[in-house]
Symmetry: C2
Subunit: 117 residues, 2 copies
DNA sequence: GCTCCAGATCGACCGTCATCTATATACAAG
DNA sequence: CTTGTATATAGATGACGGTCGATCTGGAGC
């Protein structure tokens, strides 16, 4: 008996068929993709994820002097990670005298979350 | 007149006070932070964000031969990006003859989205 | 003025990553 | 079995990123 098999790829191609529906990709998406990738890159390190986690859980401004001892890292390294998060727009900072306080700016993370859904 | 000013940092420290409430950080969060960072690292490149975007918008399996011409990149480079997404558990793949089809596995992205909220 | 301290920045080191070309693999067609 | 085609892998290379020690900055207290 003859079965209604799918055409083999080469036969498809020979017949001008395609392996799947053509995918259109508007250039408008590129800049959004770059924004999402920038935010994701800022979250691409466990230390920064934990920093964001602490800042969000604390729901207020947290002093750097409290953040540094949470990790087995030097103070410059923690400062570097905070800078990466700040430059990505994920957190903001504020100085009061000698202390510096960091806090989460929910806008950017919200945009990434919205894209993920 | 005497104003009720905040104590200066040094005075606080001398008095045994702290610059902010101490932050407790349970170690349980570390492994979750590493998972989130791993997923974020997989999304830390605009090409991979666009790949996920296309696969999700298409809502089905998409052939690699359709994905490659969307970018100004060599076929091995696109294949590399797809491998990164696959190893992060973000997408799955399936071969049919010469063609390979990729599709989004929503679980991992959902976990990241849930953490972001 | 000088000293001390919290935090940021600098410069260097080293591992990881994105990209390419070249090659391998696996399958289909003749 | 040989040829062609769609992906995957390997190896090389240049760029980027995390980390540190050393240093700079600027505010506080004397």
């Amino acid at each position: 008996m003859t079965v209604d098999l799918e055409l083999s790829p080469k036969t498809k191609r020979a017949a001008g068929e395609r392996c799947c529906e053509p995918v259109v990709y508007p250039d408008v998406r590129r800049e959004q993709a770059m924004r999402m990738a920038t935010v994701a890159r800022a979250l691409a390190d466990p230390v920064r994820v934990q920093l964001v986690d602490v800042l969000r859980r604390h729901a207020g401004k947290v002093c750097v002097c409290e953040l540094v001892p949470l990790f087995d890292l030097s103070q410059p390294t923690v400062s570097h990670h905070l800078k990466v998060l700040r430059e990505a727009g994920i957190v903001g900072s504020e100085r009061q005298g000698l202390w510096a306080y960091y806090f989460v700016l929910p806008g950017v993370l919200g945009e990434l979350a919205a894209w993920l859904q």
